[in-house]
């Protein structure tokens, strides 16, 4: 385990900023509980993943530089999103063609973390003093699971929550069908993936479906509402941030 980073920034991510501000608040609460006071740099916007995945690497590279300008002074950057962090870590180094950016971006990418990954792997904490007396099931986002290989961190934090009963999905590794631009280019296929995921979640008998990415939340919530399924969907930090 590395030294505790002195200066930590919260990267809200654009979707959380716009749709799930309570997730950003819960992230700050969770970090506070493990003894980390995170700054929220005012200039932050978006990591650029939607642009990159829609085929606009040049525009995404401009946002990578903006990300660098915003977060470079920090020892660690923490975001409540495996997907955005995977973009920073996997794709930023490819986007920065010029040598003067490359080293700085690579270095920042290495100290950018998804929140559960940060708590478990950097701080070495597995219990965050939360109590949540409910039966929940857990959908790890693909980018947390296979991109960052940190889904286990999120699951361990959930297991550390007092009175929480975790019922695993039959197919936790299956994509929920969001995929950004994919969800609107091929809504039929996206829906087919979504409906299987929701059926899997329902079969667990859980009261709550916990996930780790705003993209998955939008997709899962949208599906639950469309089919009037009595299951609530929350972000991991909303559970971990419980008193």
């Amino acid at each position: 385990m590395a030294d505790r980073p002195a200066r930590v920034a919260l990267f809200t991510t654009c979707l959380v900023d716009q749709f799930y501000p309570q997730v950003a608040e819960a992230t700050l609460r969770v970090l506070d509980r493990v003894g980390v006071r995170a700054d929220v740099p005012g200039g932050q916007t978006c990591c650029g993943q939607p642009l990159l995945n829609d085929g606009f690497p040049k525009e995404a590279a401009a946002l990578a530089r903006h990300f660098l300008r915003t977060f470079e002074p920090y020892d660690a950057v923490v975001a409540p999103s495996g997907s955005c962090v995977a973009t920073v870590r996997e794709f930023y180094p490819h986007l920065a063609q010029e040598a003067r950016w490359r080293e700085r971006i690579r270095s920042l990418a290495h100290r950018t973390y998804e929140v559960s990954e940060f708590v478990v792997r950097v701080l070495g904490v597995e219990r965050v003093q939360a109590r949540f007396p409910h039966r929940v099931t857990f959908h790890p986002s693909c980018h947390l699971l296979r991109g960052l290989r940190a889904a286990e961190c999120a699951r361990r934090l959930l297991l550390g929550v007092e009175d929480l009963e975790l019922v695993d999905l039959a197919h936790p590794e299956a994509c929920c069908g969001f995929g950004g631009v994919f969800s609107v280019k091929f809504p039929e296929v996206s829906r087919a993936l979504l409906e299987d995921k929701l059926a899997d979640a329902q079969a667990t008998g859980a009261q709550l479906l916990v996930s780790t990415d705003a993209g998955c939340l939008m997709q899962l919530e949208g599906g639950l509402a469309r089919h009037r399924i009595p299951l609530r969907c929350v972000h991991l930090v909303e559970v971990l941030g419980q008193p």
């Binding site: 946002l63 299956a174 950004g180 091929f186 829906r191 979504l194 599906g223």
Partner: protein, 461 residues
Amino acid sequence: MRPTSAGFKDASARAVHDPALREAIVRVTGSLGVRRAQVTAELPHFDALRDRAKRIKEHTLAHLDRYLEQLEEAVRSRGGHVHWCRDGEEAVGCVVRICREVGARVVAKSKSMVTEELELNRALVQAGMEVVETDLGEFVVQLSGDRPSHLIAPIIHKRREDVAELFSRHLGTPPDAPVQVLTAAARAHLRRAFLRADVGITGANFLVAQTGSVVLVENEGNARMVTTRPRVHVAVAGLEKVIPRLADLAVFLPLLVRSATGQRLSVYVSLLSGPRRPRELDGPDAFHLVLVDNGRTRTWLDPDLREALQCIRCSACLNVCPVYERAGGHAYGSVYSGPIGAVVTPALAGGRGLLDLPFASSLCGACRDVCPLRIDIPRMLVALRARASAAPQARWERRLARLAAWVLQHPTAYRWASALGRLGERGLRRSRWLPEPLRAWAQARELPRLSSKPFHRRVRP
């Protein structure tokens, strides 16, 4: 490759509403996936094999010219002929010429994706020859005038009943015949084809530069029949199939077979090096290796896509892909379907399918995880998307992307856009009209609501 689908969007949307198709696909990909997981987990050094294979492929591709020349030399020294073909037309012309020169009337084929890519059968039939596919799945494809929908399970989309009905029409089996009767009928039919065939055509799983050997991996024994009984053996293979040494098979065979069918070893592995030699009892009188480029050099020259040439066509990525599972192979409009097909199709055909195939993925990364060569398929899909976005059709998307990038680089503009977005949302909710892509979203699920106060307005400035 001739385009056959009305684009991935329509074809996949239709497939999603075909529960029988999904069931047929899952039955095969599910069991292949389970067996793959079992037999790869039992090899403690499987990941080391993957790394080794990756290094060999990288090395081979870096020195492709040298290894291809070594291969040619080795094949020639064993009495075989080597033909270099720039594109599909040349390759097809070459095979047809070889068949004509030996007066072939009947040609027996074993399973080969590259000949599907070249649509070789059509040309041979047009040249007046009878062509018989001898792999059971490909035989069914041929009888039904269909196209393969999976790299190694070409009729994954068909049910047993479909085959029974087909065979009852063509081979005279009872319409409700059980599988054993069907396979026995195919076997009897194909056996006659082996005996009648003048030329046997195969693909190649690997070409060994050191020895000039064609390596064929199969389970039915038909490839062995096709390469031993007829007078002439023609192997058709893409340039990327070459590996340096015979010893490299110790790495690639377990990777391929375990990833593909979940077997420890396939029932047959044939290493064929040139035609029959003087004191040998069987084998063809003549051997031809047709080396096909058909877009491979272009792919090789492309730094973003060269990695696609490492693919050994095991199909593991198809079997784990959630999109392939719902869309089926035909939706890709190419003989190469699934995640690797979405890369290889536009790469080889110089952009065909470019506007939809690279987007036919949620980028969930399951393909990259399972690939024995660790091919970074999501990275290549994203690279191809960048080319699609340069197409004339994407003019408006380009403008929007530039505008979005500008706004997102200017925090003040972002805050203004955020406020405007809330006004716009209110207007849209009242009007009940939705612009794309919101309409596409709402087609499948409810729209998310913007929070009344975004987070950046909740924290101190």
